[in-house]
């Protein structure tokens, strides 16, 4: 073997052993770290935003993040027990917002929405949660149960189909235009909190989210069905042997997740005041991001992930990008949220709270 051949050979070996992935990852993380730091410093130096602006953005982020957190619970619950991504969960949420729209309009027509706002809101919550819950249960029955045990991609494809179906069902019912959601007078306006003004709707959303999260936490930790859910998530076969009705537990999981999504729908319309048949997609995918960010399968993780994502999304584009000279940085909001999703999955698939992802069949 001549020296040239040996050199060529060792070069080839070197090339083959070259950790392409790692190199790309390192470069990627360096670029992002540099961009974030440089952007932040530059933006803060411009001094275009006051402390008040940042607080407003932050509070908006927390409010939005709480909605993500509640939707994320649905992903996390289903994932924790079935290990599938319920891709149609965003549409379950959308059904909640449409139900809220329907009921709120009926109440507003009768003038009940503003004369009895608190009972009206409670009624809205109950009806939306019930409708979303039924849709989630039907979804499980039609699109997921027949496919238990099929290759992983199969339920994902049916989920996409179910998503389309639900979106266009609601489009058929209510029309393709975005609809205005009636205002509730007591939720308009601001409240001064510690020297800053915060919108009333945002307070309702955050408070509602905290209550829902606590309720779910208690259900999972303290009730019989919560224990059954944890057991089935741990090991389905053993749980069945221990006398747990697996099918029924799975249905309950979907039902609870669906009810939460419906409730989240109401919180969401308080913030954004309009409903649209495609509106489930982005909150859905962002809530999924939140669930993964916090560590999918963990309820605390969902809450944490939702808040972190909401804040990053609200503050991030302006904080990181204004300084670099990007015009209208808010347009790039999806880049921030999807970017976070991609980065979390690449660098820490287990999420903030989760253990590093172990390979599951």
């Amino acid at each position: 073997m001549t020296s040239v051949e040996t050199a060529a050979r060792s070069y080839r070996v070197l090339l083959e052993r070259l950790p392409v992935r790692r190199i790309i990852l390192v470069i990627l993380s360096l670029v992002i770290a540099y961009g974030v730091i440089a952007g932040t410093v530059a933006t803060l130096q411009t001094g275009r935003f006051t402390a008040e602006d940042w607080v407003d953005l932050f509070v908006a982020g927390v409010a939005r993040g709480s909605v993500y957190a509640i939707i994320a619970l649905g992903y996390t619950l289903v994932y924790g027990i079935l290990f599938i991504i319920n891709f149609a969960h965003g549409e379950v949420f959308m059904s909640g917002t449409f139900t809220a729209f329907f009921v709120a309009h009926a109440l507003a027509d009768q003038g009940l929405l503003n004369t009895y706002p608190v009972p009206a809101l409670i009624l809205l919550f109950v009806v939306s949660a019930l409708v979303s819950m039924s849709i989630a249960v039907i979804l499980e029955r039609v699109a997921y149960r027949p496919l238990r045990g099929a290759p992983r991609l199969v339920p994902l494809i049916t989920a996409i189909g179910a998503s389309l179906f639900l979106q266009y069902t609601f489009r058929g019912f209510y029309g393709a235009q975005a609809k205005a959601y009636p205002n509730i007078d007591i939720l308009q306006g601001n409240v001064p909190v510690a020297g800053f003004t915060i919108q009333r709707a945002q307070i309702l959303v955050v408070a509602g989210a905290i209550i829902l999260w606590l309720a779910l936490y208690l259900v999972i930790e303290r009730t019989r069905i919560g224990r059954a859910m944890r057991a089935v998530g741990e090991d389905r076969e053993i749980a069945a042997l221990m006398g747990i009705d697996v099918d029924r537990t799975i249905v309950s999981t979907f039902a609870i997740g669906g009810a939460l999504a419906g409730a989240a729908g109401i919180l969401f319309v308080q913030l954004f005041n309009s409903v649209f048949f495609f509106m489930g997609f982005f909150p859905g995918i962002k809530a999924f991001t939140a669930a993964v960010l916090g560590g999918i399968g963990s309820i605390t993780g969902a809450a944490l992930g939702g808040l972190v994502l909401g804040i990053l999304e609200a503050v991030g584009p302006i904080l990181f990008l204004t300084g670099i000279g990007v015009p209208s940085p808010n347009q790039l909001q999806p880049v921030v949220s999807f970017g976070i999703l991609v980065l979390v999955l690449i660098f820490r698939p287990g999420g903030i709270l989760g253990a590093p992802e172990e390979k599951r069949a």
Partner: protein, 572 residues
């Protein structure tokens, strides 16, 4: 609910389906579509099929149960129950409207006109008996079908399908017959079959059935003709297909040629995605990203308004930066680079995470393209205009016919390459990897390398599709690159059968070609896609034209890991 007899439940379900179809607007929209002109509309066919299906199911043994004792009675009751439900719905809606709660304020599709369709213009209160009788009769017919011999059943279903195909394809067929110089007035009128036409179609179907039943199938019938061997049957089939493909643009109008071009593009995209999803088993929901990359690359490289030649929309340069044919290889190189950049970090992820991440990438690319930030280069929401057509010697490629041949050419090349890839070493490596990654790794297959290969090849094909798309429309704007494109292509691949190459062709024809031609379906296209995706995955995961190996995989895995039967009731 469980207490109700099965036939009542089936009937109620049927009734609910019809009410659902009404509420989403399908009944009203499809009432515009003639099947037998002036006699039967597609909306009526839908109702008919639902009632017949209810009767059919009611007369059939439930899964794992015994067949009903009195199938005819059950079928009749099922249909009637469905009809009564629909009738009650019509009456309820009218009563509500009379009381001042107009249903259409909320549910936009429930209009008085739609309710008239349901009552067959007999007035609200007669809708109940009309629908009940209709349901009972059709349910009975369905029940009869379900208890009839297989021969009768398949003959009837074939006659019905032939009529439907003839009627729904009427606009296309009449254009084709006109192109061939055959009179078609006696067969088709205002986008439906005439009565004579219906008799003709049903008659031909029955004759054909009768002949084939007597001869014992197509194969046997052909074998009996002297001088026919299986080989020259194949040659003749391919020759016929070739001739049809070659002359097709000349016997249809330019609109249909244009549709054919779109179908061709989707076949191209489908073949690309089929490599990723079908061969390698990687679910890529962001396939549109590569489509967009292809379109925008060609746009930037060839458009007269591109920043590369220092021009903009108001100030066009005399020429683009380069010629389309020079831009194509460059575009593919760009796609490959982006494919590796995206693929290398994420391909290690588990299947469902990969799907979401690719979806994220698709949205990232769309947002970037749409943003003010990149507007000076990519044109923001307006996109890039003034993209020249594909230069093909002396011909004008804006003519959909020329474009059709071009796309056809590329489709044939991709078809051939896909087929060869499948049985090559690389194709077998993909199959092994798809079936079991760990085992494949153990057999010495570099999983990550083959995944990236598949991803990049899919990217290159998708990019090619995007390039043609841009040149076809002469614009590239973000509105054309939404998630729905990815889902369309995925639906094409899934319907045909993952990993099956003829499946992609069939999938594109059915999912892309049909809705373009049947404009009444346009609005409901995605609605129906959704139903198809779920139904295919639940009932026939291997698709309509399955690839043998993949079918075994999908079926096999589904049966090996049966869910654990729960010890139901033991918890109480």
């Amino acid at each position: 609910m469980r207490r109700l007899p099965r036939y009542v439940r089936v009937g109620l379900l049927g009734g609910f389906i019809i009410i659902y179809l009404t509420a989403v607007g399908m009944i009203a929209a499809f009432h515009e579509r003639n099947i037998i002109t002036g006699v039967v509309q597609f909306s009526v066919v839908l109702m008919t099929l639902v009632y017949m299906a209810a009767g059919y199911l009611a007369a059939r043994a439930p899964k794992g149960g015994s067949p009903p004792l009195r199938p005819t009675r059950d079928a009749l009751i099922a249909g009637a129950v469905g009809g009564v439900l629909v009738g009650v719905f019509v009456i309820l809606m009218t009563v509500l409207a009379d009381a001042g709660y107009t249903p259409r304020d909320m549910f936009i599709a429930i209009t008085p006109a739609t309710l008239d369709i349901l009552s067959f213009d007999q007035g609200t209160y007669l809708s109940l008996p009309v629908q009940a009788v209709l349901g009972a009769v059709l349910g009975l017919a369905g029940g009869y079908l379900s208890t009839a011999t297989p021969n009768v059943r398949s003959t009837v279903t074939r006659a019905i399908s032939a009529t439907l195909i003839g009627a729904l394809g009427a606009p296309l067929f009449s254009v084709m017959m006109a192109g061939l110089g055959i009179p078609s007035r006696w067969l088709f009128r205002s986008e439906g079959l005439t009565i004579v036409g219906t008799v003709f179609v049903v008659g031909v179907t029955l004759l054909l059935r009768w002949y084939l039943l007597r001869a014992g199938g197509v194969r046997n019938a052909l074998d009996r003709v002297p001088g026919v061997t299986r080989k020259n049957v194949n040659v003749v089939t391919w020759a016929v297909v070739g001739v049809v493909l070659a002359v097709l643009p000349w016997i249809v109008n330019t609109f249909v040629s244009d549709v054919l071009g779109t179908v061709g593009l989707y076949i191209l995209l489908g073949l690309g995605l089929n490599i990723v999803v079908g061969y390698a088993g990687l679910l890529d929901l962001g396939y549109v990203a590569f489509y967009a990359v292809g379109a925008y690359s060609v746009a930037v490289l060839t458009a007269r308004s591109s920043f590369l030649v220092g021009a903009d929309v108001t100030n066009l340069a005399p020429d683009g930066f380069m010629n389309f044919w020079v831009a194509i290889p460059l575009t593919i190189v760009i796609a490959v680079i982006i494919g590796v950049l995206i693929g290398a970090p994420v391909l290690r992820l588990r299947g469902d995470y990969l799907a979401i991440v690719t979806l994220g990438f698709g949205e990232i690319i769309r947002t970037l393209v749409l943003s003010d930030w990149l507007k000076p280069y990519l044109g923001g929401p307006q996109g890039i205009t003034e993209i020249p057509s594909v230069p093909v010697g002396p011909f004008n490629a804006r003519d959909p016919r020329i474009l059709y041949y071009l796309i056809l050419g590329f489709v044939l090349v991709s078809y051939f390459v896909s087929t060869r890839l499948k049985y090559a070493r690389i194709g077998r490596a993909w199959a092994a990897m798809r079936e079991d990654e760990d085992v494949a790794e153990g057999m010495g297959i570099s999983v990550i390398k083959y995944k990236i290969l598949a991803f990049v090849m899919g990217a290159a094909v998708g990019c090619l599709g995007g390039a043609f798309f841009a040149a076809k429309l002469s614009v590239a704007n973000p509105g054309s690159f939404t998630l729905l494109v990815s889902i369309n292509v995925l639906a094409v691949v899934v319907l045909g059968g993952m990993g099956s190459i003829p499946g992609v062709v069939v999938g594109s024809l059915v999912l892309v070609g049909l809705p373009e031609l049947l404009r009444e379906f346009g609005e409901f296209r995605l609605h129906i896609y959704g139903i198809i995706l779920v139904a295919i995955m639940v009932f026939k995961p291997e698709g309509l034209f399955p690839d043998a190996r993949r079918a075994r995989e999908l079926r096999g895995e589904a049966t090996v890991k049966e869910p654990v039967p729960a010890l139901a009731g033991a918890a109480e």
